[in-house]
Symmetry: C2
């Protein structure tokens, strides 16, 4: 279900000469290990990745001190590194393909619109939802992104700590913690470790996320 860190063919990275191969071949995948910081790019000219496996988190250093977590990128998403005050970090070992601005213009355009829409939904979440609703929404988002099967009560490995989830959702780590125990108490989710979460009642989660209680 969810992609774990270590598996056979890592270190495929480096740019293999693929100029003379037949067109439409599978692009060469690169690999980056956990903790790697993705260097920020020249304004509007940064590299663009399509993530195949793993997880990248995007955050931003704020004016006076704290770090704001902005988004979590999972398999399938296209990551465009924004400019200066942002920084990106690999959280789950990451296999990805580099997209060229010229060649994949349309896909990049569409995924930028998608990311913008995602950010807008996140704004709506911050403006209109309570703490419980936010956590429920986040759990579903991560579960979908990281392939935990909605039906089969798939297990989800959270790529974030409690305070990081809090930063993302506009809450404190303590509040996130309280809500986890609350959700566990009412059998909506269960947890074997702090990071490993089972979604037991998907339907209940959606109801909570929408504020229907």
């Amino acid at each position: 279900m969810n992609r774990t860190l270590s598996q056979g063919e890592r270190e495929v990275s480096g740019i293999q000469g693929n100029k003379t191969t037949r067109r439409k071949m599978a692009a060469p995948l690169q690999t980056l290990g956990v903790g790697t910081k993705l260097a920020d790019a020249a304004p509007f000219g940064g590299p663009i990745y399509r993530i195949h496996e793993g997880c990248i988190i995007l955050s931003r250093r704020m004016h006076h001190g704290p770090v704001q977590l902005l988004d979590v990128y999972g398999p399938g998403r296209i990551f465009v590194h924004p400019g200066a005050p942002n920084s990106a970090e690999v959280r789950i070992e990451c296999r990805f393909e580099v997209l060229l601005a010229r060649k994949h213009a349309r896909i990049i355009h569409e995924s930028l619109l998608e990311n913008l829409d995602r950010s807008h939904r996140h704004v709506a979440l911050l403006c209109g939802k309570t703490a419980v609703q936010r956590v429920a929404t986040m759990l579903m988002d991560l579960a979908l992104q990281f392939g935990a099967d909605p039906v089969a009560q798939g297990k989800l490995l959270l790529p974030l700590t409690r305070p990081e989830i809090g930063s993302w959702l506009g809450l404190r780590g303590e509040t996130v913690s309280r809500i986890f125990t609350q959700l566990i108490g009412q059998q909506t989710i269960s947890a074997d470790t702090h990071r490993g979460v089972h979604i037991r009642d998907w339907r209940a989660l959606t109801l909570i996320a929408d504020g229907s209680d």
Copy 2:
């Protein structure tokens, strides 16, 4: 300073044949009146506007009821109409130029990144700032967008009602109102009507916006 509604050459709209004119000519400007709803576009294929004068507000119908205000577009900004659940409305009579996806690909790409960054800053605002900080930040944003001169204590005509400002900032209209009177009380701004605002102390506003008291 700020562009008012009625002035000479309105109704320039409609597409004038400009095929045979010399290249790099000024694109024909279209005009839309206050209250016009911009029809939502086909997925990823909507029209793209560069705003020369006026104001467009972007909002979204939420799942159960309320409307979420997402952004306010002023002169100079490039507006890409997102898909289905979003809607856009002209708030100050608007003169704009239509950009073609093919021809202006680079500019559109850059402005998408800019809008995404803007949305990220807004998320940071919602996560980390208090009500006063939010209102101060918003006032500076609108002042800059609509050309109120920072030095000359320029007047700013708010294109939004109190509840709308509240929706944008994740607050209630009442709270916004309270903070306006508070800012007026401490001489940071002044107001001749509910919509017309003078920024009296720009430096103080920036301090408030950053949370330096």
